[in-house]
Symmetry: C2
DNA sequence: CAGAATCCAACCGGATACTG
DNA sequence: CAGTATCCGGTTGGATTCTG
């Protein structure tokens, strides 16, 4: 899976996986289906969240996992990293419009899980 | 992630992952988010499909992958395996009502992928 | 046709310790 | 606080070969 970079009007870049799966479902899963990715996005829906708060929300994920995923998701333009101030360092992660466009799927998934008693 | 077995009225069993993630999104992803799982389910929506046909539809997946996923998904009651006849052996995979209940999510995912040009 | 068996390299992800 | 660095065992998944 190789990355393709698309220039956005905003000046930022969106890295799309040059994932040549014929199936759009598989391609979508590569973006938001990885471990923790959906959860991360979901927890950002009500506003920016700080790193350690996110870690607490995710419960089982290690810092390493989280920072890896966050980096990937920033590259894909699903979220944006912001350094607020220094001493002590404060960083927040904020969902982008593109990331927000995926929330509907996640909400359906959430409802499904809950209704099916999973 | 340990399995819990639930007895269904049909007599079949559904293996639910005793996945204690606090987040329902993460739990749902464990069921239909794995590599190929969503695609498999999607390709079964119009009726039973045979093993090799499925392999062709999925393009990049090896037989090993597919048979592993199919087994997992049968255990989770997302689909049902049926041996049709013998010489040469014919087997089809058919989506269950439970599996069908997840199709809405996959359809949204598919639309999203296509509209976002992923 | 529909897999199972085996081999093996690559990656994943947890634990721990360290940094600015 | 928000990570990075390193170690390391376990899992994943491709390639290949074999079977009823």
């Amino acid at each position: 899976m190789r990355a393709r970079v698309e220039q956005l009007k905003s000046g930022r870049k969106r890295v799309l996986e040059a994932c040549h799966e014929p199936c759009p479902i598989e391609r979508g899963m590569r973006l938001i289906g990885g471990k923790w990715k959906g959860s991360i996005l979901w927890h950002l829906k009500d506003g920016p969240v700080r790193f350690n708060d996110l870690a607490r929300m995710l419960g089982g994920a290690s810092k390493k996992m989280i920072s890896q995923r966050l980096k990937e998701m920033e590259d894909m333009d699903l979220l944006k990293r912001k350094v607020l101030n220094e001493q002590p360092v404060a960083v927040t992660y904020e969902i982008t419009p593109f990331g927000r466009s995926a929330l509907g799927i996640l909400e359906e998934l959430k409802d499904w899980s809950e209704h099916q008693g999973i």
